[in-house]
């Protein structure tokens, strides 16, 4: 499809400029906050005099004028060099790549499961609106939505790890067990069960409610009556005629939430002691680790831009009335 290819290539070109603009904006945003890494490091070292702070600033190039710092930063960014974290003594890019798999395996799994589960439960609830199964689904969904996410995490740990001892409570793998191959995968999967459930429950509640409301609206539309008048079986009416028409608002919200996949799991990573991007960001803020922060911001914005593009594409696939116009 040349039209789609044209659309994607044009959007990608636009995306590059958007990301660069974001990079510049982020740079100023970070520098607008009071304090700099030199001051924090000096403070942590204790008994540091003004001369030492000045020396640190010189070492990191923080004494240069802002536009010069920006120039340096941007010229590195376009070469995919995100800088060097002096706090961690490692290149920022490597740091991110280290942490990314943990976060993505957590958030993506939770996201996909929540989406599938939410749409399924929402459909079920809507098609049985007013019955006890609808009420049950709605109540469970509301509870999951309203309860603080870290509290759910803690309670799950208490039940499944502390009392029942079925699942590990924290970390990404059993340290020192030396598993290989399939065992290693299983071990990692086990560690993910509780955090994924905690995060997924929340998202699932959102999708369930959304799907239910949307289906209730579509259910009474004329074309559904037409489908019934054609003598189609109920499952076909629900899946082909109702669900497909009801799914658009869910896609909108899902695309929006997918943009938060990188940064949205700080709480979960903290509760379950997972070394992901969320915690890296949190620490970087406390330590004024500019390079790491900027790196994370950039990564997040790239993810948002990509998911926006994906959402638009999926939209045009689901609804022929929405044309991909570059």
């Amino acid at each position: 499809m040349p039209r789609i290819a044209l659309f994607i290539s044009q959007r990608l070109v636009k995306a590059v400029f958007v990301v660069l603009a974001i990079a510049v904006f982020n740079f100023f945003l970070v520098h607008a906050a009071p304090g700099d890494p030199a001051a924090v490091m000096a403070g942590e070292a204790g008994a540091a005099d003004a001369q030492f702070v000045e020396q640190l600033r010189q070492q990191f190039g923080l004494d240069r004028p802002l536009y010069e710092q920006l120039g340096t930063y941007m010229s590195k960014v376009v070469q995919a060099d995100l800088g060097y974290s002096y706090r961690q003594q490692r290149p920022v890019f490597d740091l991110l790549m280290d942490r990314l798999p943990v976060t993505l395996s957590l958030t993506l799994t939770a996201f996909v499961l929540a989406l599938l589960g939410g749409v399924a439960l929402g459909t079920l609830a809507a098609m049985r609106a007013g019955t006890w199964s609808d009420t049950a689904i709605t109540v469970v969904g509301l509870t999951a939505y309203a309860t603080p996410i870290f509290w759910i995490g803690l309670m799950l740990i208490l039940l499944f790890s502390v009392n029942l001892g079925w699942l590990p409570a924290f970390g990404t793998e059993t340290i020192g067990a030396g598993y290989t191959g399939w065992d290693a995968f299983l071990d990692k999967a086990k560690h993910l069960v509780l955090p994924v459930t905690t995060l997924g429950l929340f998202y699932m509640a959102v999708y369930t409610r959304l799907t239910r409301a949307s289906i209730l609206e579509v259910r009474d539309m004329d074309f559904v009556k037409t489908a019934r008048a054609k003598g189609l079986p109920e499952w076909r009416i629900v899946s082909v005629h109702i669900l497909r028409n009801a799914i658009l608002p869910v896609i909108t919200v899902a695309g929006f939430q997918a943009g938060h996949l990188i940064g949205g799991s700080i709480l979960i990573e903290t509760v379950f002691a997972l070394p992901g991007i969320g915690r890296l960001a949190f620490e970087a803020v406390l330590q004024r680790d500019y390079q790491v922060l900027l790196g994370i911001f950039l990564l997040t914005s790239v993810v948002v831009v990509i998911f926006n593009l994906l959402t638009d594409l999926i939209y045009s696939l689901v609804d022929p009335r929405i044309e991909v116009a570059p």
Binding site: F223, A229, K230, G231, P233, H241, A325
Partner: protein, 554 residues
């Protein structure tokens, strides 16, 4: 019951849920549908005609139940069939088409696939055979390039084309009963004519039984073999079309027939020696749809060199099909749309040249009544608030405005106490009366009525038209009356302007335009009016005519 009876409805009673305005949707209904006939079921909204059709199809809403009686299809009791067999019947032996072709098709599915679905679940045909059949069906309902059209989505098709697709879909497995629920109500007259011809054609060719639900006696006169008239869930009259149309027995049938607007209506010629109130000169408007920075969008010309004059006390009718630009002109005059060029002179002042604040005083002189009385009144405001908001905004004292609002409510035939109530407590016709009172509250010199009766039942329609006719005489109002229904235009307008594709193709006194149309398009429109061949029987004097006569003698 004979061999040829397709549907046999016996003593059918359908219960409405508790709390509805009456206990039964349909009460003790008995009729048959024979092979090879078109039975028109006529009645106003809420008469139970659609409910009956839905009961036959097994499509009743969950809250509504058949409490007694039976429906037999060729001897088989439909109601007691298990769900599986009912599904086979539905879409297989009995097919249905609906009123709104715009919403009755799944917007996300290619039309060919939607027809294919029927074949898939009712026949054992394989893929290739089904595809061939879809193309054949689309061709049989007169759609161009069926093989290409098969792959289109509904939004690419016009209303008439969609209704053709619906008919093709209904015919897919050669049903013997076709139920058509107001299939032409949402269509333009010319399209309506084509669809009616198509249905009649197919019915004759395939020897089907058609149950045709409508509220329009013109349509009945056009296609019915037999007519059943329903009122409040009961069958009040049934018989051969010729009999019911020309010698109606039941008072309700007579009342319905009397309310039908008639084309050649005797009315006095309008004397044009009065002042022009509004003159539109060479108004042009083009809408640009879609497009972006680099890509040009589609252009739609809604107004091309439009000129017309409305005199003091004159009613000018703007008629044409949907998309002809009637509403664009109306909205331009009220200032809701800014035309690209041209002049709109109100008592000599060009409204288009005025700035927003300078235009404001003129707003009160030109008021509008909208089409949908359900959407045009704010549901959270009382009727009193709705009517007084305009005058209060123009500096009228609140109490005085409310007193006047009550006067206006009585003027439009409602009780003064209506001011304290909310719009949802009123019926469609009453709401339109409220809309008229709201427009009159500002004491306008010109009233723009945009399809003010097209959402109403015929009898209510007649009442609202009578009201407008009465008001214009009493208040010496000028009016621009926008409508797609030529029969209504003929009844209420002094001057008629016929619009087509953004142009006024013919303009002149109503009598001349209808009696001796000059433009081909006007003739096409007149020709498409359903039931031309039928004249309302003499003894059923139309209510509107009677009131006009009364006024003239007074």
């Amino acid at each position: 019951m004979t061999e040829t009876t397709l549907l046999d409805v016996r003593n059918l009673t359908i219960d409405l849920p508790r709390g509805a305005d009456r206990p039964h949707a349909v009460e003790d209904l008995t009729f048959t549908l024979e092979r090879g006939e078109i039975l028109c079921v006529v009645g106003e909204s809420g008469s139970g005609k659609s409910m009956t059709a839905h009961a036959v199809m097994g499509l009743l809403p969950k809250a509504v139940k058949v409490s007694s009686g039976g429906i037999r299809h060729q001897g088989t009791d439909v109601l007691s069939l298990p769900e599986r067999d009912q599904r086979a019947l539905r879409g297989g032996r009995i097919a249905m088409i609906f009123q709104e072709p715009m919403t009755a098709l799944n917007p996300l599915m290619r039309v060919g696939d939607q027809i294919d679905e029927v074949l898939r679940y009712h026949t054992a045909l394989d893929r290739a055979a089904r595809r061939a059949r879809v193309v054949e069906l689309l061709a049989s309902v007169g759609l161009p390039e069926p093989d290409h059209l098969r792959r289109s989505y509904p939004f690419r098709l016009s209303g008439g084309q969609r209704q053709r697709v619906m008919i093709a879909m209904a015919l897919a497995v050669e049903p013997d009963v076709l139920i058509a629920d107001e299939p032409t109500t949402a269509l333009d007259v010319t399209t309506q004519k084509q669809i009616l011809e198509l249905i009649r054609d197919i019915q004759a060719k395939r020897h089907m039984g058609v149950m045709f639900i409508t509220h329009d006696f013109g349509v009945v006169a056009e296609i019915a073999h037999r007519v059943a008239v329903m009122q409040k869930g009961r069958l009040v009259e049934i018989g051969a079309a010729e009999e019911v149309l020309n010698r109606p027995k039941h008072p309700y049938t007579r009342q319905l027939i009397a309310a039908v607007p008639h084309l050649i209506e005797h009315r006095e010629d309008f004397t044009r020696d009065r002042q022009p109130v509004l003159t539109a000169q060479k108004v042009c408007k083009t809408f640009h749809i879609g497009g972006g920075f680099f890509t040009p969008g589609r252009k739609v010309v809604a107004g091309d060199d439009l000129s017309l004059t409305i005199h003091q006390g004159e009613t000018v009718g703007l008629v044409g099909e949907s998309g002809s630009g009637k509403s664009t002109l109306g909205r331009s005059i009220v200032g809701l749309i800014k035309p690209d060029s041209g002049k709109i002179l109100f008592e000599g002042v060009d409204l288009l040249s005025l700035s927003r604040p300078a235009f404001r005083p003129y707003r009160r002189h030109v008021q509008m009544v909208f089409q949908d009385p359900y959407a045009s009144l704010n549901p959270r405001h009382t009727v009193g608030d709705i009517i007084t908001q305009g005058p209060v905004a123009f500096g009228e004292d609140r109490h005085r405005a409310l007193d006047k609002a009550k006067e206006l409510l009585t003027l439009v035939g409602l009780d003064a106490s209506a001011a304290e109530r909310f719009p949802h407590e009123f019926s469609g016709g009453q709401r339109q009366r409220i809309s008229i009172a709201r427009a009159l509250a500002l004491e306008p010199k010109l009233l723009i009525a945009d399809e003010p009766v097209s959402a109403l039942d015929v009898s209510v329609q007649a009442q609202v038209l009578d009201l407008l006719e009465d008001l214009r005489h009493r208040l010496n109002l000028s009016m621009l009356f926008i409508t797609h229904d030529l029969r209504i235009a003929a009844q209420i307008c002094d001057t008629i302007a016929v619009m087509q594709k953004g142009r006024i193709v013919e303009i002149g006194p109503a009598k001349e335009v209808f009696g001796n149309p000059q433009h081909g398009y006007t003739r096409t429109l007149l020709d498409a009016i359903p039931g031309k061949g039928w004249t309302v029987p003499e003894d059923v004097v139309p209510v509107t005519r009677r009131s006009a006569a009364l006024r003239n003698s007074a």
